[in-house]
Structure formats: C-alpha cells, structure tokens
Symmetry: C2
C-alpha cells in the first residue's frame, strides 16, 4: 500500500490534526508536507482536490479535509 | 488503545469518508455510528465537539471533521 500524504501549513489546527492522524494511521504510512515551506507542491495538492489545510490525501487519491486551518489560496 | 468513533448520517460524503477511514485505520479500531438512526447518541457526539458529519473522534477525544456532509443541527 502506498502512503497517504498529509498537507498542512504549520497552523495550530494543522499541528493538532497531524498528531491525531499520525497516532491513528502510523508515521510510516503518512508523508507530511508543509505547503507553506514547500510551495512547489501546492499544484500537486490542488490536483488531488485539496482546497484547505490540514488535509489528507489517501492512497486511492481521495482528499479528506480535516477541520479547517487555512485555505490553499491563503498559503499561496 | 481504545477505539475511535466515526459519526455519520448516511450521506454520500459520509459513506466515502467512512470507506477511506476504515481503510486507513482498520475496521477493528473504529466504531461506526449512524446519528440519523441513533439519535440518542447525538448528545455524546456534541459533547465530543462534533459539529457536522462525517467526523471522527479519536481515542484521546479530539473531534476531526472530515469534509462536510451535514451539520448536527440538520440531523436532529
């Protein structure tokens, strides 16, 4: 099984959700990407359907928006 | 570790998120509760901070709202 990708932007909501997701799924199964620091990966996240962070893109390509920290537009 | 609880209301967004969450976390680690059919459990969900479904309440008590299907108020 390939990894999920957790996109965030360092916001408090993001950090809390990241801890929860890693506890639930396991750190080895999640790649964590800080879109504020890696803006080159924003297009990839948008293509996967990510509209806001924190969000988890599953191995089958579904975007799960988890609570709400910031919109992708605000990170750009 | 105790189980997470996945609250939903049978909506399409809920069903899709449920499949994703169970694939990610494992069915044995998630209790699935249909709040439309078990309205007696709405107060428990609200107490955990659930404002809309689908939502996952983690073993440590955090409410993670996953995408948006329906608000708790609409289910009542």
């Amino acid at each position: 099984m390939s990894k999920s990708i957790f996109y965030h932007a360092g916001c408090p909501v993001c950090v809390s959700a990241e801890e929860d997701i890693i506890n639930l799924i396991g750190a080895s199964k999640v790649e964590v990407v800080h879109l504020g620091e890696k803006k080159t990966r924003i297009p990839e996240a948008e293509k996967a359907g990510v509209k806001s962070v924190p969000a988890l893109v599953t191995p089958n390509g579904n975007a799960l928006h988890i609570n709400f920290g910031a919109s992708i537009e605000d990170i750009k």
